[in-house]
Symmetry: C2
Amino acid sequence: MSHLLVIGSVAFDTVETPYGKREFVLGGSANFFSMSSSFFAPVRMVAVVGEDFPQEHLERLAQRGVDLEGLQRTTGKTFHWTGVYYGEDMNQAHTLDTQLNVFEHFTPQLPESYRETKTVLLANIDPELQLKVLEQIKSPRLVACDTMNFWISGKRMALMKVLEHVDLFLLNEKELKDLSGQRSLLSGVHWLRERGPQIIVVKRGEYGAMLFYRDMIFSAPAFPLEDVRDPTGAGDTFAGGLLGYLADVEEINELHLRRAMIAGSVMASFVVEQFSCDRLISLTPDEIQQRFLAFQKLVHFDASHELPLR
Amino acid sequence: MSHLLVIGSVAFDTVETPYGKREFVLGGSANFFSMSSSFFAPVRMVAVVGEDFPQEHLERLAQRGVDLEGLQRTTGKTFHWTGVYYGEDMNQAHTLDTQLNVFEHFTPQLPESYRETKTVLLANIDPELQLKVLEQIKSPRLVACDTMNFWISGKRMALMKVLEHVDLFLLNEKELKDLSGQRSLLSGVHWLRERGPQIIVVKRGEYGAMLFYRDMIFSAPAFPLEDVRDPTGAGDTFAGGLLGYLADVEEINELHLRRAMIAGSVMASFVVEQFSCDRLISLTPDEIQQRFLAFQKLVHFDASHELPLR
């Protein structure tokens, strides 16, 4: 059983969507990622929380096989994000407030036991911190990286430096356009692959996600849901399924990348059903397997014989 | 070999996209639909053109097996649409000018030979004209209908009356929201199915299309293209492949609806590669079959065994 390492945020979120408002609920990229990937592989978490963070949640993570040796607890308050999603576009979070708190002076320090982890996610944090983590890892097999527009515009050079060491890069369509300056998705992907990452995953919110690797393009739909209550953490939860699946495969190849994309899509389809990570807490392996099959029904068509053309 | 009937527009389009501008090129819903569906089944066209319409193009349609007995040619000018697509959102046409011309006083009159057609597309025209056509058809097996926001807001009652007689309704996401007033795609689809059509196809532009039938949901991706030069007619071309495929199947069932959705997606993926219907003119059956297989590679994943969960 191979481990996964994630460096990212553990946070309190205050979120409002057309379905209601929740204050100081559990959030953060490393939190969503760990909750999700722990269904697939044991996770090592590198993050920081303040004195106000509930012990109960740490125990829940530990029960799920999340190693918390790399989680720093310092004096001060936990990172707090406040955002809102409007009904017309649930794909887009609007940030109302960001209180970095303990995250402001965070310097990731990897425990010795973490340094040989083979699969790594550099979740959405300052690319300079992402680099610091990379330097401490001995010989990873798969380095994945997520980011956001804030770093693309504010720390572009550092981000480009990170990308040189990244195998799998996750970003959304707008981030791809902003970073590459290219008009089409495909041109943007070509641009990125000349700069480091050979596997590109483009996240498209309610339209699913696409993966580009060598000459393969794979398109994963989003699962159609009656109610998307809270999209917060969907991308990190997706990454959790994707990398959790890949952590333990013998070889990173087309077959596994396709299945991993669906694993990620399955996990993301659950987390948005409820606020915060509530749905990940109640989720069972059996529900995951059933939705995996439901994805197959969603996209399968009979291509065993040609179209009947005149 | 079963026939298809289409009632819609044949037009001149003046179109500008980031790839250039074309003036007075061939367009119109019935034109795109016929060019596309003629690869699958013989088509009967009901439309109107003016004296200025090129005979050459009518001959090309006839060569493709399009029956033009129902095409009226009257004094005056052909319908002329002028629109522009901006680079940021190629999914959305912005209409600059509409000259109805001969279309203004168009009253569809079906030739006797058309009245027993089994598969019908009521393309995007005034729902009152759609009703007039329906009245003249004896016992269709599959009635499909397309529309646009102009009719949803302007002739809502007539449109709802049409829908009572429609089996398959094609519309885009925004139209679904505007018509149903429902927040989510699924709620909108439920709303529609209580009002007539049992098969709903939701078009999502560069994100593909979804089909809802009984308890089946099918998601078809759009084909990733380096350059989308002109999206005009993509929806009608999609409908052409979808209904062309369905015109000749023994039974309208899940298996065929899935394949038909891909047939439509294949045809739409070609037409946007060039301006107007240029790409449909140069298209070969072999290219269609190859792209059908490429769609399979785009979405296929191995679901023969479960996800490796802990």
